[in-house]
């Protein structure tokens, strides 16, 4: 890797970080929440979530069922059924599903956002906006970030709920008599600490999924050929960012 490429890489991270900061400030100030912003955000949210809600729910349900079945069956062979339940719920709902959801949203919406922003840059739209005195922060970026975050949150919640239901049915079938044991296990797994960590992780994922593509898109120039490069770079950075968040959360929780 040439020094220029390395510098460019680091610069990309720096841009993303700066943008994130700016967006955070913007997001936390109520002045930004104009009706137009809300409308745009809603639109973005719709495009991000509506079509995939049911398919993604089903997919996560299927994945959960398969993993839980395998794990519980194996563990039952060793007489460790209850421990398996605790283990599988922990791994699925606290680690695997949030990450998977974030990756999915990143794949779908993140790439779309990056492309959109890059195209805006290429087409000169952003320059036009700047010329008109319109703040792209309000019109384009923040709504997308909000939408992405909310969609990550929504999809995570739904897939985790599906995982819990699948776990119950895998372990106890249709009988209601395992409920107290299940409840006990849930209580063991979802301590305050764990709940807090997953909440934070979801927020971070959500922010990363939008901010990094936007920053990547902004790095495009008026040259059309720069668009794919920008998007590519952005997606890779997003992937690493998600991984980093995950590793950090693990480190904080278990080490």
């Amino acid at each position: 890797m040439s020094p220029e490429a390395a510098m460019a890489w680091f610069r990309g991270w720096a841009h993303a970080a700066r943008l994130a900061l700016v967006l955070a400030v913007a997001g936390l100030s109520p002045a930004f929440y104009t009706p137009r912003l809300r409308a745009t955000a809603t639109k973005q949210l719709y495009f991000t979530v509506w079509q995939v809600f049911v398919p993604f729910t089903l997919f996560s349900a299927l994945l959960s069922v398969v993993i839980i079945e395998i794990t519980i069956r194996l563990a039952r062979g060793y007489g460790l059924g209850v421990y398996a339940l605790e283990l599988v719920i922990t791994v699925l709902t606290l680690e695997l599903l949030p990450l998977l959801t974030a990756l999915f949203v990143a794949l779908r919406s993140g790439s779309a956002i990056a492309t959109e922003i890059a195209l805006m840059r290429v087409s000169g739209e952003l320059d036009a906006m700047a010329a008109e005195g319109v703040d792209p922060m309000e019109r384009e970026f923040l709504p997308r970030v909000l939408a992405a975050s909310v969609s990550v949150f929504m999809l995570t919640v739904v897939s985790c709920a599906m995982a819990l239901i699948a776990a119950y049915f895998s372990m106890y079938g249709l009988s209601p008599w395992g409920f107290s044991e299940f409840t006990w296990t849930v209580a063991e797994v979802f301590t305050v600490r764990q709940l807090g960590s997953i909440a934070i992780k979801t927020v971070l994922f959500g922010v990363a999924v939008a901010v990094i593509p936007i920053a990547a898109g902004l790095s495009a120039t008026r040259d059309m050929k720069s668009a794919p490069v920008a998007v590519l770079g952005g997606m890779v950075r997003l992937f690493f960012a998600l991984g980093l968040i995950e590793v950090l959360s693990l480190a904080v929780k278990y080490v």
Binding site: Y46, M154, V157, A161, L195
Partner: protein
């Protein structure tokens, strides 16, 4: 599918189709998700017992190694409480605070025994045993001493025992120890045994004793020899008596009138003995090499050949019935 599309003027003339009830749909989804999230949170809170009354139980132990917060208190294998806090009291003993939901507290009575077990590997287990379920219920905030069983504690004890055994073995086999003394005695014994006095001196302890014993043995032998001499003399006497009594001019002859019959019997016996002599002679002649056998073998062979010739016809007939077979017929003596 009735999606009324609103054509929004996009930039650069592109159009994105947006349904009319977009906001409704988004709202729907959002509401649904929030509902699930809320339900989940409530469930977790319920699971963690936030909503149910609990009572506290404190267990006091010397050593709470292996106990962690969040561990279960089990009764008959079912978890009925959770460790909430572990702390060190002022008297140096550890206090385990356990939270028990009130609905499970009916298993805990005043007389319940609590144990803390720990294997060599793995976490500890806190268990409750209730003998009498009709006893008074355990009051809230009760303090109980927990019985500890720790197999990993046995190991130091085992090691200590082993060490003492080894020490004992060492003292026994030490240079001044009893074992060496016994071995020394044994060595002395074997030396004596191998010495001039032999086994005897080994047993008796000294050569002189051995010599004494040997001397006495010799005397006994001499006594026996002399006794046999006496016995021989006695034999001779008996012989003479025999002769005198039974001989020709003996006692019996002398008292012929009284022993007339006996004489007769004796004469018969004499005859029999003579006959026996003759028979014995013949027997010897027959069975022994007293006289050379008067056998002319050539003549014998000739005679046998002659008689065989007479019998040959018979043999021929038999041969016809039973042909000769070398294996069955010729037997080595």
């Amino acid at each position: 599918m009735d999606k009324e599309r609103e054509k929004e003027p996009g930039r650069d003339g592109a159009f994105t189709a947006v349904p009319r009830n977009l906001q409704f749909r988004v709202g729907l989804l959002l509401g649904f998700t929030l509902l699930i999230a809320a339900a989940f949170v409530l469930y977790v809170l319920y699971a963690r017992g936030v909503f149910e009354p609990t009572q506290r139980l404190t267990l006091v132990a010397d050593n709470v190694e292996g106990v962690s917060i969040g561990m279960d208190l089990s009764f008959s294998g079912f978890p009925i409480g959770r460790v909430h806090k572990i702390e060190l009291a002022d008297d140096g003993r550890a206090r385990i605070e356990i939270v028990v939901p009130v609905r499970e507290s009916r298993w805990l009575r005043r007389s319940t025994i609590f144990t803390l077990e720990r294997g060599v590997v793995g976490p500890a287990k806190i268990r409750a045993f209730t003998g009498n379920l009709q006893d008074e219920p355990l009051p809230d905030g009760a303090e109980r001493t927990v019985l500890r069983g720790d197999t990993s504690e046995e190991i130091p004890r085992m090691v200590a025992t082993l060490r003492s055994v080894l020490e004992n073995a060492q003292t026994i086999t030490a240079n001044e120890g009893s074992l060496q003394a016994s071995l020394g005695n044994l060595r002395l014994m074997t030396q004596r045994m191998a010495g001039p006095g032999g086994a005897l001196s080994g047993l008796l302890g000294s050569e002189d004793e051995a010599k004494k014993v040997l001397a006495s043995i010799d005397r006994a032998n001499a006594l026996i020899a002399s006794m046999s001499g006496v016995a021989r003399k006695l034999d001779a006497v008996i012989d003479k008596t025999d002769q005198r009594v039974y001989g020709r001019d003996g006692l019996m002859d002398g008292t012929q009138r009284a022993v007339g019959q006996v004489n007769g019997i004796l004469a018969e016996v004499r005859d029999s003995l003579k006959r026996v002599d003759r028979i014995l002679d013949d027997a010897q002649q027959v069975s022994g090499n007293a006289k050379a056998a008067t056998t002319d073998l050539r003549a014998l062979r000739a005679e046998v050949d002659a008689s065989l010739r007479k019998v040959s016809a018979l043999v021929e007939e038999i041969n016809r019935k039973w042909p000769f077979e070398r294996n069955t017929e010729i037997r080595l003596p």
